[in-house]
Symmetry: C2
Subunit: 242 residues, 2 copies
DNA sequence: CGATGTCTTGATCGATATCAACGCTCGTGG
DNA sequence: CCACGAGCGTTGATATCGATCAAGACATCG
């Protein structure tokens, strides 16, 4: 059975960044995808690997992360269903980050040769994939700003805004959203301590920017959260493919 | 007179990431480049622009930066002679960062249509440009780690390592290197304060990791600096084009 | 039912920010 | 040619945000 639902989400993600012709869509679907179930915390890829396959996230959530020489971890991005996980490796041999599942989930893999063959045949596909990868790069730049120039409260608010907007863009229910990340993961994404994340989350709740019930969060007033974060979604490049 | 020297550096930069055929090189040179002198602090591009031209840095240094809603600045990368400055805009309409000259210098511009036409004709060129842009993305990820998980001393050491290695990769003399950046710029690149940058630079000098004479810096022992920074140059992807 | 992971809270510490002031250098205009 | 001012680097004193250390509460799962 072909993993069509998973691939559809991927195509949806690509189309956030540019139109694809029916032939291109068909060609992407026709790639020899292999579906693989993955448990929480398992690694899809490790820093330094030279993968022969690339993968997309079909279900669940994942994180891309790097380690410093003294062992601390920094999460450099979160991935949602439909996102390519390591397509950078089509162009750069060696992975400079690891990909770890944040939750149980499913990925779909293809051999890099198959994708490269498709890129040769349908340059349009290459263009859209490049655009999607560069949109991810724009997110990384925003994360530099986040960790470099915002205080803890702004950082967390900004991360929450990003997660909610991206989730929504990929057709995920966000009115009541179950945050798939532990406070420790949020800490490693924002350059903070789990303890401090806890306190700040609490503070954001206190001022009515979010409300929480376990890991389920609701945003009573988007304006308030956005204002705290200084959030402007343009860095996500959701609407400006050339 | 054609700006061949500047373009050569650009081709050199691209070839860090992949071979180019003689025809492709010729085609890049043949693009209708326009050379423009730029003074220190002038803007090449501003956040939100939708440029009709893209440019490369021919001489001097530049920085890419973003502003937060409350006006603070974060530099998200430094550019060296030969680097493309805003080629992301070939794929993403709207610029999510500004480009400002760090020093006096020269850039070379081309209209985006001309580049796009070349990409259609020589897909090989598109592939190498994409690779170069994704290598920049890898640098952004490393900067997230830098600002998120390293202390001030490691951050500055790491930034200096990166600057020196990249300068060397682009044929710039680095035995005695004149840092083209003020301490304020270093602060905005590392998420620190100018005062603190000053103190840490002083500390690094004290422990013999670097030695300074005005803005000229020398690295007495690369090992020491690299050790402090926990520097591993793999994120620069200087040698692994597919 | 115990073990493990996650969240929570309090007390204290420390790295870096902030505030303030001074000196040097260099370019510019009188 | 000199005087001046702006920009940059430097230094000291103090404040603060977030880290660290420690421990308990709760839920989930084998």
């Amino acid at each position: 059975m072909m993993p069509q639902n998973g691939i559809s989400r991927f195509i949806g993600r690509l189309q956030l960044h540019g139109r694809l012709s029916p032939q291109s869509i068909e060609a992407i679907r026709a790639l020899p995808w292999r579906l693989i179930k993955r448990t929480k915390l398992s690694y899809v890829l490790r820093e330094g690997d030279i993968p022969q396959e690339v993968s997309i996230l079909v279900a669940g959530f994942a994180q891309r992360q790097k380690h410093t020489s003294d062992g601390t971890r920094q999460i450099v991005s979160f991935s949602f269903p439909g996102d390519p996980l390591d397509f950078d490796c089509l162009f750069l041999n060696e992975a400079d980050f690891s990909v770890q599942m944040s939750t149980n989930g499913t990925i779909a893999c293809v051999r890099t040769e198959a994708v490269n063959a498709l890129l040769d045949k349908q340059p349009e596909v290459g263009r859209v994939i490049t655009t999607a990868l560069l949109a991810d790069a724009a997110v990384s730049r925003e994360w530099v700003v986040n960790t470099g120039r915002r205080d803890a409260r702004q950082r967390l608010a900004h991360l929450l805004c990003e997660v909610l907007v991206r989730a929504k863009a990929q057709q995920i229910e966000t009115d009541v959203f179950e945050l798939p990340f532990t406070q420790e993961q949020l800490a490693d994404a924002t350059g903070l301590t789990p303890v401090h994340v806890n306190r700040v989350l609490r503070q954001l709740t206190g001022e009515g920017a979010i409300s929480r019930n376990g890991r389920f969060i609701t945003v009573p007033s988007w304006d308030v959260l956005e204002e705290i974060a200084g959030f402007d979604d343009r860095f996500l490049h959701l609407h400006d493919a050339r």
